[in-house]
């Protein structure tokens, strides 16, 4: 492991709770008199509501409330495009859209109420295809799109909810300079975050204040959504997250907190919502977006890339959710971490009548990396160059300029390529049904505000009170280690108080791989204030200069004279009788780097990445040609995520992301029927990988000094390991069967169809 490791062991503060079953998740909570919430869904993909009558449902004994859009403030919301209301208004645009919400005494009564709601529709044409939706005569998903509010930089046109382009140099000239131009088309199906805990919300009003327990990854974002849609000030809405049973991005954003709070207000009772697995698949505005790619690269015979031109269209689904920045982000991933002198990318975020897309672990990146890196192997093959050599020659490196004009300071991509290839035994002789595929990926760190408090009580025990959200990654758990190191104490000396918006300062939440990057900075800053207080107190006790006091091993001592020492617990006791040990921290987020030489349309700040993370995955795959079944035999994953502060947590992140990547590569994909409804919204037919499928995973952290990064030079790591796995698997499959599989997931039937040259789009 890395030489910068500070913790020989890592005990998760939430570990014993989760392992023994004593921990409480939202669905475990009960409140006296709580009612059951159920939603009435559209069940059709596109229709005008001609009748919605809830009077019979309201009349059922045991039904306390039935709410529709008529019963809540008429607010359109959305972080990028304000295209959504809490309940359907006039038109339904996907099968999981909510028409009404019921609060009843028990589940059967709530179900009877749903059945008693009368809804009639006039069908509207269903938009089921991303590319067709962009044609000028396509039916509009939002007829009133031009009346919607939207964030400043967002460029929209009809079904195109966010258009972005990146242009550098002269791409036609670059193509003309090439010896070979390779053109490829790839199609990625949508897929799901599929957290094991289906979401749950419990709301209770006390006077004009509401407390909402909810399974969200982003408590402050959830609070903001409630405040906006129910027109409440932030200080009257308290969001508490009990243990969260996974999220993977699917529980980012604002979901059903306002619906349940509105039911609780209407009924004057606590109300609890618990999703079924089917609801978890169909209703949330968070699933990984399908994308259509058109990629073209010009290359010289010596392997130099002269130009790259990409076009892509992303399935936005029926509403924009947080996907407004996806076009530019996908454009960056489609150009890739390569030195490309002449580049042009055009990306569209396209309304369809599918479930809305939203941030799922590295949104747009795994599928775009899959397309670009499969294409890159085609390019290398076209000039007869080894794909690893081709990447070593063209990858971005320290001091080199990337496709958007950002010049990179210290980065470790080239080291990652070498480490991953070596770890996989790249170049070894293999049976003719096995091959090693290699792919590189990148991902930004997100530099945002964040806050934390630290306090040490009179007995010397500490608490970290943080706005950060733990979604299972261990990032919040690692705060104990950071704070303890700062104060010369042990991680176990600190308890965490977290996931409560009325107790802790703001944090963006478990999203954007940002927790350690930003909240780590905040916690270190808060601890630093206490360190100063302790040094002052110790200096007084030891009759020394505060600048000479060292905090280590639970004591404050004079530098160079360890015998002159006082326990921190004793200092805490002194402080408890005077000025208390309380620290608060936020710290200045690292500034974004400059970009020169590129022009952008629809610029949402995604072309210049602070502390960019890099990765290379080398994956050995075996293909059964008779059935098309591909099995991953071994994964070698190399990552530049800066300094690794918590090796145990970091290893877990990479292992989990690789497994998720294998699923996205081979088995996980949403299938739509002709009416744009999901055909496999269940865990038997939507196939996650299981422990029995997991291959050995070797992990190599390339740790280099990273300027302008998180605490101790750390970058993010939650999403980056999910980027390159599917791409590497694709390149291994292509090496075995001679041609890439052009649709993701690369299911057994698609592999078999590719082997046999069968056209069409099989399962």
């Amino acid at each position: 492991m890395s030489p910068t490791t500070t913790a020989p062991r890592f005990v998760r503060a939430d570990g014993p709770d989760k392992v023994t079953g004593s921990g409480r998740y939202t669905a475990d909570l009960t409140l006296t008199g709580a009612l059951v919430a159920k939603f009435k869904y559209a069940e059709v993909s596109h229709a005008r509501i001609t009748k919605l009558d809830v009077s019979a449902a309201r009349a059922i004994p045991g039904v306390f409330a039935v709410l529709t859009q008529d019963d809540v403030p008429d607010v359109r919301f959305g972080p990028f495009v304000q295209d959504r209301t809490l309940f359907a208004r006039d038109v339904v645009r996907f099968e999981g859209e909510i028409l009404a919400a019921v609060a009843a005494v028990d589940v059967p009564t709530a179900q009877r109420a749903l059945n008693a709601i009368v809804v009639e529709y006039a069908p509207l044409p269903v938009v089921n295809d991303i590319e067709a939706a962009l044609s000028p005569d396509a039916p509009l998903v939002h007829a009133d799109w031009s009346d919607y509010g939207a964030a400043g930089p967002i460029v929209r046109d009809r079904n195109d909810a966010s258009m972005a382009s990146i242009a550098k140099g002269d791409v036609d000239k670059g193509m003309a300079e090439a010896d070979v131009v390779v053109h490829s088309r790839y199609v990625a199906d949508g897929c799901h975050a599929a957290p094991i805990e289906p979401r749950a919300v419990l709301a209770q009003w006390e006077g004009n204040k509401v407390t909402i327990w909810t399974s969200t990854q982003v408590p402050f974002d959830a609070r903001a959504g409630v405040c906006e849609t129910l027109e409440l000030p932030a200080n009257r809405v308290r969001i508490i997250v009990p243990h969260l049973g996974g999220g993977f991005g699917g529980k980012c954003g604002f979901h059903y907190e306002a619906h349940v709070a509105a039911l609780a207000r209407a009924t004057k009772r606590p109300v609890r919502l618990v999703f079924s697995r089917r609801e978890e698949f169909v209703a949330p505005d968070r699933r990984r977006e399908g994308i259509v790619f058109d990629l073209e690269t010009g290359v010289r015979r010596d392997g130099t890339i002269t130009a790259r031109k990409v076009w892509l269209a992303i399935d936005n689904g029926a509403y924009t959710a947080d996907a407004g920045f996806f076009s530019q982000l996908a454009a960056m991933h489609a150009l890739g971490p390569y030195q490309v002198p002449h580049a042009f990318a055009e990306a569209h975020l396209v309304y369809t009548n599918h479930q809305p897309s939203g941030s799922v672990r590295a949104p747009t990146a795994p599928q775009t990396c899959w397309a670009l890196e499969s294409h890159t192997d085609e390019v290398a093959k076209a000039i007869g160059m080894d794909p690893v050599e081709f990447r070593l020659k063209n990858a971005v490196a320290t001091g080199k300029e990337g496709p958007s004009g950002q010049v990179y300071d210290e980065i470790g991509l080239v080291d990652c390529i070498r480490a991953a290839a070596d770890g996989a035994g790249y170049g070894q002789a293999l049976p003719d049904d096995e091959a090693i595929g290699v792919a590189i990926g990148w991902w930004p760190s997100f530099s945002v505000p964040s806050g934390a408090y630290v306090k040490i009580d009179g007995d010397g025990s500490g608490q970290i009170i943080t706005g950060a959200q733990e979604c299972g990654t261990g990032a919040v758990m690692t705060l104990r280690q950071l704070v303890a190191d700062e104060l010369g104490m042990q991680a176990e000396d600190f308890e965490l108080v977290y996931q409560d918006t009325s107790v802790a300062p703001y944090d963006m939440g478990a999203t954007g791989s940002q927790t350690l990057f930003n909240n780590g900075r905040a916690a270190v800053a808060a601890a630093g204030q206490i360190a100063e207080q302790l040094k002052q107190l110790a200096a007084e006790q030891l009759e020394a200069n505060p600048a000479d006091i060292v905090l280590a091993d639970g004591a404050a001592s004079v530098a160079g004279t360890p015998s002159r020492s006082v326990p921190i617990a004793e200092l805490a006791g002194i402080a408890a009788g005077g000025e208390l040990l309380i620290g608060h921290g936020s710290g200045a987020p690292p500034a974004p780097p400059e970009v020169v030489g590129a022009t952008c349309v629809g610029d949402v700040g995604m072309t210049a990445w602070v502390a960019p993370q890099f990765s290379c995955h080398a994956v050995r795959v075996k293909v059964d040609r008779d059935t098309g079944v591909a099995r991953v035999l071994h994964v070698s994953a190399a990552h530049d995520s800066g300094t690794i502060i918590n090796p145990v947590g970091a290893t877990g992140q990479v292992e989990g992301a690789v497994l998720m990547g294998i699923g996205q590569a081979l088995t996980e994909g949403t299938r739509y029927d002709d009416e744009a409804k999901q055909r496999n919204a269940a865990l038997l037919e939507y196939k996650l990988q299981t422990c029995a499928d997991a291959p050995p995973i070797d992990i190599h952290f390339v740790e280099i000094d990273t300027p302008n990064a998180g605490p101790r030079g750390a970058k993010g790591l939650a999403e980056a390991p999910n980027v390159a796995t599917a791409a590497a698997i694709s390149n291994a499959i292509a090496a075995i069967i001679g041609t890439p599989v052009r649709q993701l997931p690369m299911t057994a039937e698609r592999v078999w169809s590719t082997v046999n040259g069968i056209e069409g789009s099989p399962a």
Binding site: K622, V623, D624, D626, T627, V629, A630, R631, L633, L666, T667, R671, R679, N680, A682, L683, L684, E685, K687, L688, Q689, T690, C691, A692, D693, T747, A748, E749, W752, S753, I758, P762, A763
Partner: protein, 295 residues
């Protein structure tokens, strides 16, 4: 609404006669009810505590496997996993370790799913189920038992108490394997079982092949004869692909199913023949030869 816990077969039969439905592991009944397949019956009789249903007897005539024997036991049983090997192959693939600990052979057979993993090996081994009611016992062949997906010819008052499997001939063995997209919590996309009896020269004297998830019930392949193992395996592949009546659904297209069930049939014949020769092919075949990869 009633729930009776029976401790003897007679108690269970009495409850069935009064209109109750049996539940053992609940791995089909309860899951199906939760998914809206069929509501949970109003009256249930639990049969999981009936010791008689867990009997396992081996005689010269063959094996008697109690309907309540679970998949974990079948997977690991020293006789079943070497002599009636195809059944163990099937049981070893069911669900997850916890499913295999609660799911029973009787439940699997009477659930009558065309995708059940133990069905095809039972067919190629010539198994019969023993159905018992207040009016007595009868034995029914599987082809007669299964009448459609989830449907059997058993009367509501009949309880499946055991599965009888004839003793395999000398120099014979069996194998079952399936096409799967993952290794746990999976359902057969298609599957095939083979039972092979070899002559002294190593050629195939007799072969039976049955197919999973390519028709409304498990079906047996007709018209197979003897020959070299390679020829019989090739003939089984062709006949399986031809006789299959697969559907297209979210798991696979009919064309892909038709092709892969042939591949499974060929591999099942090959694996059964290797076992009949005394070669060790461990249970389950899916892991031993690997569908897509060596284990």
């Amino acid at each position: 609404m009633s729930f009776v816990i029976a401790t003897t077969i007679d108690e269970a039969i009495a409850a069935l006669a009064a209109g109750a439905r049996p539940v053992a592991g609940g791995s089909d009944l309860v899951v199906g009810a939760r998914h809206g397949k069929a509501p949970l019956p109003g009256d249930l009789v639990a049969i999981d505590r009936i010791e008689e249903l867990r009997c396992l007897e081996f005689t010269d005539a063959g094996a008697c496997i109690g309907a309540g024997v679970n998949h974990h036991t079948i997977e690991h049983h020293p006789v079943l996993s070497t002599v009636y090997t195809g059944i163990s192959d099937g049981s070893a693939l069911v669900g997850s370790p916890s499913t295999r600990n609660v799911g029973t052979l009787g439940g699997n057979v009477m659930n009558a799913s065309p995708a059940m993993d133990t069905g095809a090996p039972l067919v190629v081994l010539g198994a019969e189920v023993e159905l018992r009611s207040a009016s007595g016992s009868r034995r029914v062949g599987l082809a007669e038992l299964w009448t459609g997906p989830g449907r059997t010819s058993a009367r509501p008052d009949e309880l499946c108490v055991a599965i009888h499997v004839p003793a395999p001939a000398a120099r014979s063995n069996s194998a079952y394997l399936r096409l799967e997209y993952r290794r746990s919590m999976e359902i057969a996309v298609v599957g095939a079982a083979a039972s092979v009896t070899l002559a002294d020269d190593g050629s195939v004297n007799a072969v039976r092949v049955a197919l999973t998830a390519v028709a409304p019930t498990i079906i047996e392949v007709a018209g197979l004869g003897g020959g070299t193992v390679a020829d019989v395996a090739a003939a089984a592949q062709a006949a399986a692909a031809e006789q299959a009546r697969p559907i297209s659904d979210v798991r696979a297209s009919d064309a892909y199913r038709r092709h892969t069930v042939g591949v499974m049939a060929r591999r099942a014949v090959e694996a059964a023949a290797r076992r009949a020769l005394g070669e060790p092919v461990s249970v389950p075949v899916n892991r031993a030869i690997g569908i897509g990869a060596a284990s």
